[in-house]
Subunit: 109 residues, 2 copies
């Protein structure tokens, strides 16, 4: 079982920011900005590349709600997801990084 | 009219990679990786923050098709969208950066 599935199951602790039936948002353990939250679907999908579009629709709503809740909706944020080897994907369970709470750097690759 | 709406209208030239009724993918004029494509909805939305979830569903399908077409589906890629001031958003028309064709750097903020 992947590490994010273990977080969902409660086998590995995490600091939950927002949760509903289908998604979980929790703090990245190595934050690179003041706000650095990971958003994952509870159902396992390897990456964005295989996510069914309708799940991505619900995830969009969830993220929009999340940024309101943590107070970065108006100040702005960056959303990143990495796919596969060239994308530098570390955990093979789709996750979006939500970065904010301060200015993010130049868009880097 | 914003610069991306002008690209959609054909007032400003761009190098189209993939296009359908609702979305356009074109090369970034300042690529930061071998593959650096911008994906935009033809309808104007200021950012991810205001995109209707069902449009994001279609956009997901479009991006999944795009990465197959340009041959980076298996090698991997990074997907980024910037929202507002802290996110470093430059053009206020929702766009996703698709970066690949070589290894992207460490996830930076």
């Amino acid at each position: 079982m992947c590490i994010f599935c273990k977080i969902i199951n409660g086998e590995i602790p995490s600091q939950t920011i927002l949760e509903d039936e289908n998604f979980l948002a929790f703090n990245d353990i190595n934050p690179s900005k003041k706000v650095h939250i990971l958003v994952i679907p509870k159902e396992h999908y390897d990456s964005f590349d295989v996510i069914p579009p309708k799940i991505m629709a619900s995830m969009t709503e969830f993220i929009q709600k999340l940024v309101s809740k943590v107070g970065i909706k108006n100040s702005g944020y960056r959303l990143i997801t990495n796919i596969g080897v060239d994308g530098g994907q570390e955990v093979k369970h789709l996750h979006f990084h939500v970065l904010g709470g301060e200015k993010v750097g130049k868009m880097v690759s």
